[in-house]
Amino acid sequence: MAVFIAKLCKIYEIAEAKVEVLKDVNLNVASGEFVAICGASGSGKTTLLNLISGIDKPTSGQITVFGEDLIDKDEDFLADVRCHKVGFVFQSYNLVSTLTVAENVAFPMEWTRKPVKQIEVRVSELLETLGVQHRANHFPAQLSGGEQQRVAFARALANDPPLLLADEPTGNLDAHNSQKIIDVFRMLKANRKTIIVSTHDKQLLELADQTLCLENGSFELQ
């Protein structure tokens, strides 16, 4: 099992009010499976992805990613999981503005102490696959939204993680750029990568093996 979630709850305390974003969520994702999560804004999609990646901590419940229990683990452990097992593509790209495109893709590999030559080959390979090799020495501020999103994909795949999380990857893109991203997903699915994506994109939903819809913090099977 790639991802196992049981009775997951997340409550945010805002001032004196309590907002229950996720209620007793259960989810099983098999290795190599493509899961699409849809739902209205504020339904808890981003929160769920944040919890699976260890960026956020649940109020209660259980999360296991490739056999690693994420509950009550320290920041170093969670950082290791994100570095080796999970690739995350954020909705707002989140590239490091002080690093070039090539360096943005290279830096997750530097934490794994890979040889420089191997990093260079991998960066070149990923940028070519995603069609942004001509932008290798540019900074994120000099790229279009579509290009930034593809660089974010390259970075998420740098350490070849078994699980890819993507938060509305086509949400900010035009049709042309969306198509390029969908092609990337198609390629990743063909490579049997486990993928969980939150999206409203029809093409992506059609590509998914399993589609789940979050409503008021709980799944409703499609």
Partner: protein, 618 residues
């Protein structure tokens, strides 16, 4: 939305940034005011203590030191204030563009930000002045330093307030004006945000690792703020170097001046009344003492006979006998003419000043030591030459080395200026034969003997006491080491009080650095959050900040240390004594200071690294 409610609401909503800026401003104004109040009290304190103690030459070294440190403190505070407001307003460039892009007229946006700047600056300066006085009051209550008995110079408060308020406005207005000239699209662009330069100017550091890469880029791509913080810390290190190195070098130098006047293994022999008088003359350096009427130096009963001197010379434990004649005389300044080496024109030097001074007749050949600040000391063959103490030189002569003095209608050409704690430097050394000639007295009234370093001191002193009591029962031995020890303790205490300044300056500098790192971490908040979200461990963030902090500290230390050492050696202390131990002491102090600053500067990064990731990202 009214023109004034927007800036107020905006400041209140941006609590973290507003409070960081105000706190940094408060730290800057308060520490500057406190340090100025403290140094003025210490300057006053030393002046009051020194009214009847310390030689004038030493007092000049102290005063020059405190003045220089005071100026440095003020400049440091001014640079810090200008840096903080510049940083604050530069960070607002993006907001400026945002408001302009929404259609707000240029003049109105300018008004908003000027109002914000005025509110922040005024609040920071007012609270800073209050905190400055508060810290001063608290330190006076807690520490019980003797310098706090002196009144505080409250005029520093309006001066510091006005100077820093104006500086903050001038330096804060500049980035607002720059932002006003930018088109909205440029103001919104991240390549123009916070002084960020275009990326193409920098090639990737292919060999370096991630931490160094991000740290270096962040520094180089914000050249304005990086240069400003380096400049600010360089000022801090100049202040620290001058305070620490200056205090140590000045202490060692002045101590060596005082030590030289006594010589090693030297004791004095005199009639018990003369011995008591001599001790009073020596102790005037560290405590005000009343001589209790005119002492008769020429009284026959205190004269030391030739027989006694011969008996002392015969002792194997004594290597040198230096017989002196001490008396008090009225001394007159003799004016002179000197020639300008460039124009060859002659011009008069000096006046017709006069006063009482101690005159000490010595045999140059028998002197147990040599001590002088300028010119030379008395040598064999000198006859109508004299060496004046620094207090006499400063009070009675304009250019002592080209002038003469007159004692009992006889002139002595001044060949040197010495620092001597006897009678607080109000002393003149002349050849004993000439003094005997003009006073008609042949017998000396005090004898200095240098003991052999290879013999047992206690046994030697016992032998001397037995021998002199055989010739005159009322002769006694004065152990110069004891009085010298008291003089040195007094000097040590004076310099130790001054060493409090670098301590406070260090605390203030550390606050500045922490404020800078807090602002830097806040500014890089989003990037650090991304790094952590992608898998970087919290220590990676601390490492990046550590690299930035060490680069900034190392650059400013190199700059500040060089200028500080030059200022200390060339301006503050004449003829400095610098031994390898002195250098080791200075290096140890500065290393402790830099290491402490470095680790404390990491506090904001450590706190940031411990913050929950989602909290940072949202």
């Amino acid at each position: 939305m009214s023109e004034t409610s927007f800036p107020v609401n905006d400041l209140l909503r941006r609590k973290l940034q507003t409070s960081l800026t105000v706190v940094s401003l408060v730290c800057s104004v308060a520490s500057t005011l406190f340090l100025l109040l403290f140094s003025s009290r210490m300057g006053l304190g030393i002046a009051l203590v020194a009214e009847d103690t310390l030689t004038i030459g030493l007092l000049a070294v102290f005063s020059q030191f405190i003045l220089f440190v005071g100026i440095l403190i003020f400049v440091m505070g001014a640079v810090l204030t200008s840096f903080i407001v510049f940083l604050m307003m530069t960070q607002r460039t993006k907001d400026f563009g945002l408001i302009k892009a929404a259609g707000c007229p240029n003049s109105l946006v300018f008004g908003y930000f000027m109002t914000e700047l005025l509110i922040v600056t005024f609040t920071g300066c007012v609270i800073g002045v209050l905190v400055g006085f508060g810290v001063d009051f608290a330190v006076s209550r807690i520490s019980g330093f003797s310098v706090y008995q002196n009144p505080a110079n409250i005029w520093f408060a309006p001066v510091v307030f006005a100077a820093f308020f104006v500086l903050a406005l001038v330096f804060g207005t500049k980035p607002i004006l720059n932002a006003a000239r930018l088109s909205p699209i440029k103001a919104l662009s991240s390549t123009h945000y916070f002084g960020l330069t275009m990326g193409n100017q920098l090639k990737p550091f292919s060999a370096s690792r991630l931490t160094g890469k991000i740290a270096m880029r962040s520094l180089f791509r914000r050249p304005t703020s990086t240069i400003r913080i380096i400049l600010l810390l360089a000022m801090v290190f100049i202040l620290l170097t001058v305070s620490i190195a200056g205090s140590i070098i000045a202490k060692d130098t002045t101590t060596s001046w005082v030590e030289k006047t006594a010589g090693k293994n030297v004791v004095a022999i005199a009639h018990e009344e003369m011995a008591a008088q001599y001790e009073i003359l020596q102790s005037k350096f560290f405590e005000a003492k009343d001589e209790g009427g005119m002492f008769d130096y020429l009284n026959e009963k205190i004269a030391i006979s030739n027989e006694t001197i011969q008996q002392l010379k015969a002792l194997s434990s004594i290597v040198n006998v230096d017989a002196r004649l001490i008396l008090k005389e009225h001394v007159y300044e003799i004016s002179n003419f000197t020639i300008d080496p460039e124009t060859l024109a002659t011009f008069p030097v000096g006046d017709k000043r006069e006063g009482d001074s101690l005159i000490i007749g010595v045999e140059p050949m028998d002197l147990t030591g040599s001590w002088f600040l300028q010119g030379r000391f008395l040598e064999n063959g000198d006859s109508w030459e004299g060496v004046v103490g620094d207090s006499v030189a400063r009070k009675m002569f304009s250019k002592p080395l080209v002038q003469s003095l007159r004692v009992q209608n006889q002139s002595f050409a001044i060949v040197g200026v010495c620092l001597d704690p006897i009678d607080n430097g109000k002393v003149i050394y002349v050849p004993i034969k000439k003094l005997q000639q003009i006073t008609g007295k042949s017998a000396p009234n005090i004898v200095f003997v240098e003991l052999s370093s290879s013999i047992d001191r206690v046994a030697a002193l016992k032998q001397i006491k037995e021998r002199i009591s055989g010739t005159n029962q009322r002769l006694t031995v004065i152990e110069l080491d004891k009085v010298l020890g008291k003089s040195l303790v007094f000097l040590e205490n004076a310099w130790s009080t001054l060493m409090l300044l670098p301590l406070f300056a260090l605390a203030s500098a550390t606050l500045c650095l922490i404020a800078y790192v807090m602002l830097a971490v806040d500014e890089q908040r989003q990037e650090f959050a991304i790094l952590r979200a992608i898998g970087a461990k919290p220590k990676t963030i601390v490492n990046i900040v550590a690299v930035q902090s060490s680069i900034v500290l190392a650059s400013s230390l190199a700059f500040g240390l060089s200028f500080g050492v030059i200022a200390t050696l060339m301006i503050l202390v004449p003829n400095p004594v610098v031994t390898s131990f002195t250098i080791l002491q200075i290096a140890t102090w500065l290393t402790i200071a830099v290491t402490g600053m470095f680790f404390l500067s990491l506090a904001p990064a450590v706190k940031f690294a411990r913050t929950a990731l989602l909290r940072i990202m949202t």
